[in-house]
Amino acid sequence: MATKLYFQRSGLQTTIQDMGRLGYQNKGIPVGGTMDKSSAQAANWLVGNNSNSPLLEVTILGPKIEIEGPCQIAITGADLSPTIDGQVIRMYQTINIQKKATLAFGRLKNGCRAYLAVGGQWQIQPWLGSYSTATNNGKMLTPHSFIREKSQLSILPNIPISVRNIPIEKQPKFNSSQRIRVSKGPEFNLFSAYSIGHFFSHAHPISPQSNRMGYRLDSKLIDFEPKQELISSGVIPGTIQISNSGQPIVLMKDAQTTGGYYRLGNVFSEDLDRLAQLKPGDSIWFSLE
């Protein structure tokens, strides 16, 4: 029997994601997929799914979900004070749902994105091989993947696994200030030493105009005047581009695939997960490796 998820509240931005739409970037399709890949993979492991299975990415303000039918769930990533029928539940652990229950989220204690995995086959439509949200002309190409109030999901549960957990020392820590490692970008040498020195010795607060496409930083490169117009070239998640006005933008999973701004650096792929757990107002310290 299928498990049903009925969304009484959608939360701020609740989407279905997997590992993304890889291979179509030559056509201008964003990579997409989970922002914090390792937390997402951990959640899927805890319910016995494979690591590319779709799951819910919950952002800052969580949804309220009525779960019908037996299933196994797990929550990882940001701590949004999850509860079941009002009882606080543990994160980073398999949770058995036996009967109808209400999963809710409360105060955000740390991080920015939580991942909710449900063990089984999700009855949803992929587009170009991925369940991650994709839009065209304002219409969803993956109609199930953007959660709204009253959205419903149907999942054919796996045969239950014995309860798994990830010990606290192996769980990531999300601070509101992070050191993020960076390698030199293609246009690194076009910046002055003064610009670079300043960039790597100051905190960069994350602007409220940040989303899954990119993190805009509330900082400005000093001594920066783009001398030549660049010819558009490929950009990838983690590329730090500097707009003509000097504002740094770190490209994230839903970024476009080409751009014409100066690329100062690239965030280490391993650090992208921690970066994805920063929210507007938090700060980044970049270090050049």
């Binding site: 291979g23 179509y24 030559n26 201008g28 170009l128 970008g185 558009s232 695939t257 080409t258």
Partner: protein, 227 residues
């Protein structure tokens, strides 16, 4: 060609930094060579005007190893490059030719001359980017060069054909944009419902053909369900 590392999971192949069909042809050739070699560590590529981004799986390879592998590949002969030529009908009449007056002012050409020049050459698809399936093409004959609009249009219609500098392009979907719109094609160049949603690939050739408003409407019905 210069190969450099681009973050810890990609290589950037840079060619002479110029917008030119010949340089772009090299990008296409290297991209095809990499695709054809079916290198298991290559996750995806982004061919652009004069660069090629190659993203790899760091568990399987590293910058140096992949760069050596790429350098050892044999480039496809020009004749073997699998580029299609597309005949793309465009209605250059109102209500589709939103900026034809501005283009006429900037170029000193009249409406007829603009159409004649835009349909005389075959253009090359340099890059798909900005939006899923947005095709950047060139090179335009010099007479047709014009600047982008000072204030971008908040909603350019899907399938609008535009000009910007030495390039021409087609909007795959409704989007904000600053290109000078001179017409519209009835062919959906991006159709998400198809298994192959994209009409164009990088390196393809495009020849525009002028059609009347009546022909546009007839073709729109034909193409309603995809190309």
């Amino acid at each position: 060609m210069n190969i450099r590392s681009y973050g810890d999971t990609a290589l950037l192949l840079n060619f002479e930094q110029k917008i030119s069909p010949n340089i772009n042809a090299k990008v296409v050739a290297w991209n095809q060579a990499i695709q054809k070699a079916n290198i298991s560590s290559v996750v995806y590529t982004i061919p652009a005007y004069c660069s090629l981004t190659v993203v790899f799986d760091p568990v399987q390879t590293n910058h140096q190893q992949l760069a050596e592998h790429i350098k050892s590949l044999e480039l496809p002969k020009n004749s073997a490059i699998t580029a299609k030529t597309h005949q793309v009908p465009v209605c250059y009449e109102q209500p589709y030719a939103l900026d034809i007056q501005e283009v006429a002012q900037q170029t000193g050409l009249d409406h007829k001359e603009i159409i004649q020049i835009h349909t005389q050459d075959t253009f090359q698809v340099y890059m798909l980017g900005f939006l899923p399936g947005f095709a950047y093409m060139g090179k335009l004959p010099k007479e047709l060069y014009c600047r982008r609009k000072l204030t971008p249009r908040p909603k350019v219609p899907a399938c609008a054909v535009g000009l910007a500098g030495q390039q021409t392009g087609i909007y795959p979907s409704v989007a904000p944009g600053g290109w000078q719109i001179i017409g519209q094609t009835p062919i959906p160049i991006f159709n998400p419902n198809k298994e192959q949603p994209f009409l164009f690939s990088v390196g393809d050739r495009v020849q525009f053909q002028a059609i009347s408003q009546q022909e546009f409407e007839q073709l729109s019905i034909v193409y309603q369900n995809g190309y």
